[in-house]
Symmetry: C3
Subunit: 138 residues, 3 copies
Amino acid sequence: MVHQENFIVSTVRRGMTEVTDPVAAVVARTGFAAGVVHVFVRHTSCSLLITENADPTVRRDLETLAQRWAPDGDSAYLHDTEGDDDMAAHARAVLTGTSVSVPLAQGELLLGTWQGIYLWEHRSHGHRREIVVTVTGE
Amino acid sequence: MVHQENFIVSTVRRGMTEVTDPVAAVVARTGFAAGVVHVFVRHTSCSLLITENADPTVRRDLETLAQRWAPDGDSAYLHDTEGDDDMAAHARAVLTGTSVSVPLAQGELLLGTWQGIYLWEHRSHGHRREIVVTVTGE
Amino acid sequence: MVHQENFIVSTVRRGMTEVTDPVAAVVARTGFAAGVVHVFVRHTSCSLLITENADPTVRRDLETLAQRWAPDGDSAYLHDTEGDDDMAAHARAVLTGTSVSVPLAQGELLLGTWQGIYLWEHRSHGHRREIVVTVTGE
Protein backbone atom coordinates (compact mmCIF):
# COMPACT_ATOMS: atom_id res chain seq x y z
CA MET A 1 0.00 0.00 0.00
CA VAL A 2 1.05 3.60 -0.59
CA HIS A 3 0.43 6.59 1.67
CA GLN A 4 1.51 10.05 0.55
CA GLU A 5 1.52 13.47 2.24
CA ASN A 6 3.17 16.83 1.61
CA PHE A 7 4.30 19.47 4.06
CA ILE A 8 6.01 22.85 3.85
CA VAL A 9 9.14 24.03 5.63
CA SER A 10 9.71 27.78 5.62
CA THR A 11 13.44 28.26 5.97
CA VAL A 12 14.85 31.47 7.41
CA ARG A 13 18.37 31.43 5.98
CA ARG A 14 21.09 28.98 4.86
CA GLY A 15 21.34 26.11 7.33
CA MET A 16 19.63 22.93 8.44
CA THR A 17 16.12 22.38 9.82
CA GLU A 18 15.33 19.01 11.37
CA VAL A 19 12.28 17.33 9.82
CA THR A 20 12.39 13.97 11.62
CA ASP A 21 9.26 14.74 13.66
CA PRO A 22 6.93 15.72 10.78
CA VAL A 23 8.14 12.69 8.79
CA ALA A 24 7.54 10.41 11.79
CA ALA A 25 4.05 11.88 12.14
CA VAL A 26 3.22 10.87 8.55
CA VAL A 27 4.55 7.35 9.25
CA ALA A 28 2.35 7.08 12.37
CA ARG A 29 -0.73 7.98 10.31
CA THR A 30 -0.11 5.12 7.85
CA GLY A 31 -0.60 2.36 10.40
CA PHE A 32 1.90 0.28 8.37
CA ALA A 33 4.00 -2.27 10.24
CA ALA A 34 6.90 -2.44 7.76
CA GLY A 35 8.06 -0.68 4.61
CA VAL A 36 10.17 2.18 3.27
CA VAL A 37 9.68 5.90 3.89
CA HIS A 38 10.72 8.11 0.96
CA VAL A 39 11.23 11.82 1.61
CA PHE A 40 11.70 14.14 -1.38
CA VAL A 41 12.19 17.90 -1.74
CA ARG A 42 10.84 19.56 -4.90
CA HIS A 43 13.66 22.12 -5.34
CA THR A 44 17.23 22.25 -6.68
CA SER A 45 18.86 24.69 -4.25
CA CYS A 46 18.22 22.82 -1.01
CA SER A 47 18.67 19.17 -0.09
CA LEU A 48 17.64 16.42 2.31
CA LEU A 49 20.18 14.46 4.31
CA ILE A 50 20.59 12.25 7.35
CA THR A 51 23.25 13.32 9.81
CA GLU A 52 24.19 13.44 13.48
CA ASN A 53 21.38 14.87 15.62
CA ALA A 54 23.12 15.50 18.93
CA ASP A 55 25.90 18.07 18.71
CA PRO A 56 24.99 21.18 16.64
CA THR A 57 28.68 21.80 15.88
CA VAL A 58 28.46 18.91 13.37
CA ARG A 59 26.03 20.96 11.29
CA ARG A 60 28.17 24.07 11.62
CA ASP A 61 31.25 22.16 10.42
CA LEU A 62 29.23 20.79 7.48
CA GLU A 63 28.54 24.42 6.49
CA THR A 64 32.27 25.14 6.66
CA LEU A 65 33.06 22.19 4.41
CA ALA A 66 30.22 22.94 1.97
CA GLN A 67 31.72 26.38 1.44
CA ARG A 68 34.88 24.60 0.23
CA TRP A 69 33.01 22.04 -1.89
CA ALA A 70 31.11 24.79 -3.73
CA PRO A 71 32.30 28.29 -2.79
CA ASP A 72 29.86 31.20 -2.98
CA GLY A 73 30.65 33.64 -5.75
CA ASP A 74 33.44 31.61 -7.33
CA SER A 75 34.90 33.49 -10.29
CA ALA A 76 34.65 30.34 -12.45
CA TYR A 77 30.83 30.25 -12.29
CA LEU A 78 28.84 31.18 -15.39
CA HIS A 79 25.51 30.92 -13.54
CA ASP A 80 25.11 33.85 -11.14
CA THR A 81 21.77 35.42 -12.04
CA GLU A 82 20.41 35.20 -8.51
CA GLY A 83 23.58 36.17 -6.66
CA ASP A 84 26.75 34.71 -5.18
CA ASP A 85 24.89 31.86 -3.47
CA ASP A 86 22.94 30.74 -6.59
CA MET A 87 25.33 28.29 -8.25
CA ALA A 88 26.83 27.23 -4.92
CA ALA A 89 23.34 26.23 -3.79
CA HIS A 90 22.74 24.05 -6.86
CA ALA A 91 26.12 22.34 -6.43
CA ARG A 92 25.62 21.71 -2.70
CA ALA A 93 22.22 20.19 -3.53
CA VAL A 94 23.75 17.87 -6.14
CA LEU A 95 26.40 16.67 -3.66
CA THR A 96 23.96 15.99 -0.84
CA GLY A 97 20.81 14.91 -2.69
CA THR A 98 17.13 15.52 -3.27
CA SER A 99 15.74 12.60 -1.27
CA VAL A 100 16.41 10.28 1.64
CA SER A 101 14.70 7.00 2.40
CA VAL A 102 14.47 5.20 5.72
CA PRO A 103 13.15 1.74 6.64
CA LEU A 104 9.91 1.49 8.60
CA ALA A 105 9.71 -1.32 11.17
CA GLN A 106 7.16 -2.05 13.90
CA GLY A 107 5.27 1.06 12.82
CA GLU A 108 8.21 3.45 13.28
CA LEU A 109 11.10 5.04 11.38
CA LEU A 110 14.09 2.73 11.89
CA LEU A 111 16.63 5.53 12.32
CA GLY A 112 19.72 4.94 14.45
CA THR A 113 19.95 6.66 17.82
CA TRP A 114 22.08 9.52 16.48
CA GLN A 115 20.40 9.94 13.08
CA GLY A 116 18.12 12.84 12.22
CA ILE A 117 16.55 13.85 8.89
CA TYR A 118 17.39 17.42 7.91
CA LEU A 119 16.36 19.88 5.22
CA TRP A 120 19.48 21.83 4.25
CA GLU A 121 18.69 25.28 2.88
CA HIS A 122 21.57 26.26 0.59
CA ARG A 123 20.39 29.75 -0.40
CA SER A 124 21.46 32.69 1.79
CA HIS A 125 17.85 33.76 2.33
CA GLY A 126 14.88 31.67 3.43
CA HIS A 127 12.47 29.95 1.06
CA ARG A 128 9.21 28.02 1.19
CA ARG A 129 10.25 24.36 0.63
CA GLU A 130 7.80 21.62 -0.27
CA ILE A 131 8.55 18.10 0.98
CA VAL A 132 6.72 14.97 -0.22
CA VAL A 133 6.63 11.87 2.02
CA THR A 134 5.65 8.61 0.32
CA VAL A 135 5.39 5.50 2.48
CA THR A 136 5.29 2.11 0.75
CA GLY A 137 4.45 -0.68 3.15
CA GLU A 138 1.89 -2.99 4.64
CA MET B 1 2.30 -3.42 -7.69
CA VAL B 2 5.65 -3.25 -9.45
CA HIS B 3 6.31 -2.14 -13.03
CA GLN B 4 9.84 -2.32 -14.44
CA GLU B 5 11.40 -1.22 -17.74
CA ASN B 6 14.92 -0.66 -19.04
CA PHE B 7 16.18 1.80 -21.61
CA ILE B 8 19.54 2.72 -23.11
CA VAL B 9 21.18 6.13 -23.34
CA SER B 10 24.08 6.38 -25.75
CA THR B 11 26.24 9.20 -24.48
CA VAL B 12 28.53 11.11 -26.82
CA ARG B 13 31.07 12.51 -24.38
CA ARG B 14 31.38 13.67 -20.75
CA GLY B 15 28.34 15.73 -19.77
CA MET B 16 24.66 15.46 -18.88
CA THR B 17 21.75 14.04 -20.87
CA GLU B 18 18.24 14.73 -19.60
CA VAL B 19 16.19 11.55 -19.09
CA THR B 20 13.05 13.05 -17.53
CA ASP B 21 10.92 12.32 -20.62
CA PRO B 22 11.74 8.60 -21.01
CA VAL B 23 11.24 8.11 -17.25
CA ALA B 24 7.88 9.94 -17.40
CA ALA B 25 6.87 7.72 -20.32
CA VAL B 26 7.45 4.60 -18.20
CA VAL B 27 5.39 6.14 -15.39
CA ALA B 28 2.52 6.88 -17.80
CA ARG B 29 2.49 3.24 -18.93
CA THR B 30 2.03 1.99 -15.34
CA GLY B 31 -1.38 3.60 -14.86
CA PHE B 32 -0.51 3.93 -11.13
CA ALA B 33 -2.06 6.82 -9.22
CA ALA B 34 0.56 7.03 -6.45
CA GLY B 35 3.92 5.50 -5.60
CA VAL B 36 7.69 5.91 -5.95
CA VAL B 37 9.71 5.89 -9.18
CA HIS B 38 13.20 4.41 -8.79
CA VAL B 39 15.75 5.12 -11.54
CA PHE B 40 19.05 3.20 -11.48
CA VAL B 41 22.09 3.14 -13.77
CA ARG B 42 24.06 -0.12 -14.04
CA HIS B 43 27.55 1.43 -14.30
CA THR B 44 30.19 2.93 -12.00
CA SER B 45 31.59 5.73 -14.17
CA CYS B 46 28.40 7.69 -14.76
CA SER B 47 25.64 8.78 -12.39
CA LEU B 48 22.03 9.89 -12.09
CA LEU B 49 21.07 13.17 -10.46
CA ILE B 50 18.29 15.71 -10.20
CA THR B 51 19.27 19.28 -10.91
CA GLU B 52 18.08 22.58 -12.39
CA ASN B 53 16.55 22.12 -15.84
CA ALA B 54 16.33 25.70 -17.10
CA ASP B 55 19.72 27.38 -17.49
CA PRO B 56 22.40 25.14 -19.13
CA THR B 57 25.16 27.12 -17.40
CA VAL B 58 24.25 25.26 -14.19
CA ARG B 59 25.35 22.01 -15.80
CA ARG B 60 28.51 23.63 -17.15
CA ASP B 61 29.40 24.96 -13.70
CA LEU B 62 28.80 21.49 -12.23
CA GLU B 63 31.42 20.17 -14.67
CA THR B 64 33.84 22.86 -13.47
CA LEU B 65 33.28 21.88 -9.85
CA ALA B 66 33.45 18.14 -10.53
CA GLN B 67 36.89 18.68 -12.01
CA ARG B 68 37.94 20.05 -8.60
CA TRP B 69 36.18 17.31 -6.59
CA ALA B 70 37.96 14.58 -8.59
CA PRO B 71 40.57 15.95 -11.00
CA ASP B 72 41.37 14.03 -14.16
CA GLY B 73 44.83 12.49 -14.14
CA ASP B 74 45.66 13.36 -10.55
CA SER B 75 49.17 12.18 -9.72
CA ALA B 76 47.90 10.55 -6.51
CA TYR B 77 45.71 8.03 -8.36
CA LEU B 78 46.80 4.39 -8.45
CA HIS B 79 43.94 3.43 -10.79
CA ASP B 80 44.61 4.78 -14.30
CA THR B 81 44.35 1.75 -16.58
CA GLU B 82 41.76 3.36 -18.86
CA GLY B 83 43.25 6.85 -18.93
CA ASP B 84 43.21 10.17 -17.10
CA ASP B 85 39.42 10.22 -16.80
CA ASP B 86 39.10 6.66 -15.38
CA MET B 87 39.46 7.21 -11.62
CA ALA B 88 37.94 10.68 -11.81
CA ALA B 89 34.82 9.11 -13.34
CA HIS B 90 34.46 6.56 -10.53
CA ALA B 91 34.87 9.27 -7.88
CA ARG B 92 32.39 11.63 -9.54
CA ALA B 93 29.91 8.73 -9.69
CA VAL B 94 30.37 8.00 -5.97
CA LEU B 95 29.76 11.65 -5.06
CA THR B 96 26.62 12.02 -7.16
CA GLY B 97 25.08 8.55 -6.99
CA THR B 98 23.82 5.55 -8.90
CA SER B 99 20.08 6.13 -8.48
CA VAL B 100 17.42 8.77 -7.94
CA SER B 101 13.87 8.26 -6.79
CA VAL B 102 10.90 10.54 -7.27
CA PRO B 103 7.35 10.41 -5.89
CA LEU B 104 4.50 9.58 -8.26
CA ALA B 105 1.20 11.38 -7.62
CA GLN B 106 -1.97 11.61 -9.69
CA GLY B 107 -0.30 9.43 -12.29
CA GLU B 108 2.71 11.71 -12.83
CA LEU B 109 6.27 12.29 -11.62
CA LEU B 110 6.03 14.80 -8.77
CA LEU B 111 9.12 16.79 -9.77
CA GLY B 112 9.33 20.47 -8.90
CA THR B 113 9.04 23.01 -11.73
CA TRP B 114 12.80 23.41 -12.08
CA GLN B 115 13.83 19.79 -11.49
CA GLY B 116 15.05 17.49 -14.24
CA ILE B 117 16.50 13.97 -14.07
CA TYR B 118 19.91 13.72 -15.73
CA LEU B 119 22.35 10.99 -16.66
CA TRP B 120 25.83 12.38 -16.07
CA GLU B 121 28.48 10.72 -18.24
CA HIS B 122 31.80 11.04 -16.41
CA ARG B 123 34.06 9.38 -18.99
CA SER B 124 35.63 11.59 -21.69
CA HIS B 125 34.18 9.46 -24.47
CA GLY B 126 30.61 8.27 -24.94
CA HIS B 127 29.28 4.94 -23.70
CA ARG B 128 26.11 2.84 -23.95
CA ARG B 129 24.40 3.28 -20.56
CA GLU B 130 21.61 1.03 -19.30
CA ILE B 131 18.97 2.57 -17.05
CA VAL B 132 16.40 0.56 -15.06
CA VAL B 133 13.13 2.21 -14.01
CA THR B 134 11.16 0.43 -11.28
CA VAL B 135 7.82 1.91 -10.26
CA THR B 136 6.25 0.71 -7.01
CA GLY B 137 2.71 1.95 -6.61
CA GLU B 138 -0.99 1.36 -6.93
CA MET C 1 4.85 -7.24 -0.26
CA VAL C 2 7.61 -6.22 2.13
CA HIS C 3 10.46 -8.36 3.43
CA GLN C 4 12.90 -6.93 5.98
CA GLU C 5 16.08 -8.26 7.59
CA ASN C 6 18.99 -6.78 9.54
CA PHE C 7 22.60 -7.83 9.65
CA ILE C 8 25.76 -6.63 11.38
CA VAL C 9 29.11 -5.76 9.83
CA SER C 10 32.01 -5.51 12.26
CA THR C 11 34.52 -3.17 10.63
CA VAL C 12 38.19 -3.35 11.54
CA ARG C 13 39.34 0.12 10.54
CA ARG C 14 38.59 2.91 8.03
CA GLY C 15 37.89 1.43 4.60
CA MET C 16 35.32 -0.46 2.59
CA THR C 17 33.73 -3.87 3.19
CA GLU C 18 31.72 -5.42 0.36
CA VAL C 19 28.17 -6.36 1.40
CA THR C 20 26.77 -7.45 -1.97
CA ASP C 21 26.62 -11.13 -0.94
CA PRO C 22 24.67 -10.71 2.33
CA VAL C 23 22.25 -8.33 0.56
CA ALA C 24 21.79 -10.83 -2.29
CA ALA C 25 21.11 -13.56 0.27
CA VAL C 26 18.24 -11.52 1.72
CA VAL C 27 16.86 -10.97 -1.78
CA ALA C 28 17.00 -14.72 -2.49
CA ARG C 29 14.97 -15.42 0.66
CA THR C 30 12.13 -13.12 -0.45
CA GLY C 31 11.21 -15.18 -3.49
CA PHE C 32 10.11 -11.91 -5.17
CA ALA C 33 10.37 -11.72 -8.95
CA ALA C 34 10.59 -7.91 -9.22
CA GLY C 35 10.92 -4.92 -6.92
CA VAL C 36 13.38 -2.58 -5.22
CA VAL C 37 16.00 -3.51 -2.61
CA HIS C 38 16.66 -0.76 -0.06
CA VAL C 39 19.84 -1.00 2.04
CA PHE C 40 20.24 1.39 4.99
CA VAL C 41 22.93 1.85 7.64
CA ARG C 42 21.84 3.13 11.06
CA HIS C 43 24.91 5.31 11.77
CA THR C 44 26.26 8.75 10.82
CA SER C 45 29.99 8.06 10.57
CA CYS C 46 29.93 5.35 7.91
CA SER C 47 28.08 5.12 4.62
CA LEU C 48 26.78 2.80 1.93
CA LEU C 49 27.75 3.19 -1.71
CA ILE C 50 27.90 1.37 -5.01
CA THR C 51 31.26 1.42 -6.76
CA GLU C 52 33.62 -0.58 -8.96
CA ASN C 53 34.14 -4.12 -7.65
CA ALA C 54 37.13 -5.33 -9.69
CA ASP C 55 40.29 -3.30 -9.05
CA PRO C 56 40.95 -2.56 -5.35
CA THR C 57 42.97 0.53 -6.30
CA VAL C 58 39.64 2.27 -7.01
CA ARG C 59 38.75 2.00 -3.32
CA ARG C 60 42.23 3.15 -2.29
CA ASP C 61 41.95 6.21 -4.55
CA LEU C 62 38.50 6.98 -3.09
CA GLU C 63 40.18 7.08 0.35
CA THR C 64 42.76 9.52 -1.01
CA LEU C 65 40.05 11.80 -2.39
CA ALA C 66 37.85 11.55 0.72
CA GLN C 67 40.79 12.85 2.74
CA ARG C 68 40.66 15.98 0.55
CA TRP C 69 36.85 16.28 0.67
CA ALA C 70 36.87 16.19 4.48
CA PRO C 71 40.37 16.22 5.97
CA ASP C 72 40.99 14.56 9.32
CA GLY C 73 41.76 17.03 12.10
CA ASP C 74 41.08 20.16 10.07
CA SER C 75 41.73 23.22 12.21
CA ALA C 76 38.38 24.71 11.16
CA TYR C 77 36.34 21.96 12.84
CA LEU C 78 34.44 22.77 16.03
CA HIS C 79 33.37 19.12 16.52
CA ASP C 80 36.35 17.02 17.61
CA THR C 81 35.21 15.29 20.79
CA GLU C 82 36.04 11.81 19.53
CA GLY C 83 39.29 12.67 17.77
CA ASP C 84 40.69 13.85 14.46
CA ASP C 85 38.55 11.43 12.44
CA ASP C 86 35.24 12.36 14.13
CA MET C 87 34.01 15.30 12.04
CA ALA C 88 35.69 13.98 8.90
CA ALA C 89 33.67 10.78 9.29
CA HIS C 90 30.35 12.65 9.54
CA ALA C 91 31.18 14.75 6.47
CA ARG C 92 32.29 11.75 4.39
CA ALA C 93 29.02 10.03 5.36
CA VAL C 94 26.97 13.05 4.25
CA LEU C 95 28.75 13.15 0.87
CA THR C 96 28.34 9.45 0.14
CA GLY C 97 25.01 8.63 1.81
CA THR C 98 23.18 6.47 4.32
CA SER C 99 21.38 4.17 1.87
CA VAL C 100 21.53 2.64 -1.57
CA SER C 101 18.72 1.01 -3.49
CA VAL C 102 18.95 -1.47 -6.32
CA PRO C 103 16.30 -2.92 -8.64
CA LEU C 104 15.34 -6.58 -8.25
CA ALA C 105 14.51 -8.47 -11.46
CA GLN C 106 13.98 -12.18 -12.12
CA GLY C 107 14.60 -12.81 -8.43
CA GLU C 108 18.05 -11.19 -8.36
CA LEU C 109 19.78 -7.87 -7.66
CA LEU C 110 20.02 -6.08 -11.02
CA LEU C 111 23.54 -4.73 -10.44
CA GLY C 112 25.81 -4.08 -13.40
CA THR C 113 28.75 -6.40 -13.98
CA TRP C 114 31.23 -4.06 -12.27
CA GLN C 115 28.98 -2.80 -9.46
CA GLY C 116 29.35 -3.87 -5.84
CA ILE C 117 27.60 -2.61 -2.69
CA TYR C 118 30.06 -1.43 -0.03
CA LEU C 119 29.91 -0.31 3.56
CA TRP C 120 32.45 2.48 3.95
CA GLU C 121 33.76 2.80 7.51
CA HIS C 122 34.87 6.41 7.97
CA ARG C 123 36.17 6.17 11.55
CA SER C 124 39.85 5.24 12.06
CA HIS C 125 38.92 2.31 14.29
CA GLY C 126 36.42 -0.46 13.66
CA HIS C 127 32.80 -0.38 14.78
CA ARG C 128 29.77 -2.66 14.89
CA ARG C 129 27.52 -1.42 12.04
CA GLU C 130 23.86 -2.38 11.70
CA ILE C 131 22.43 -2.63 8.18
CA VAL C 132 18.71 -2.93 7.39
CA VAL C 133 17.61 -4.49 4.09
CA THR C 134 14.00 -3.84 3.07
CA VAL C 135 12.76 -5.46 -0.13
CA THR C 136 9.52 -4.17 -1.66
CA GLY C 137 8.28 -6.39 -4.47
CA GLU C 138 6.03 -9.13 -5.66
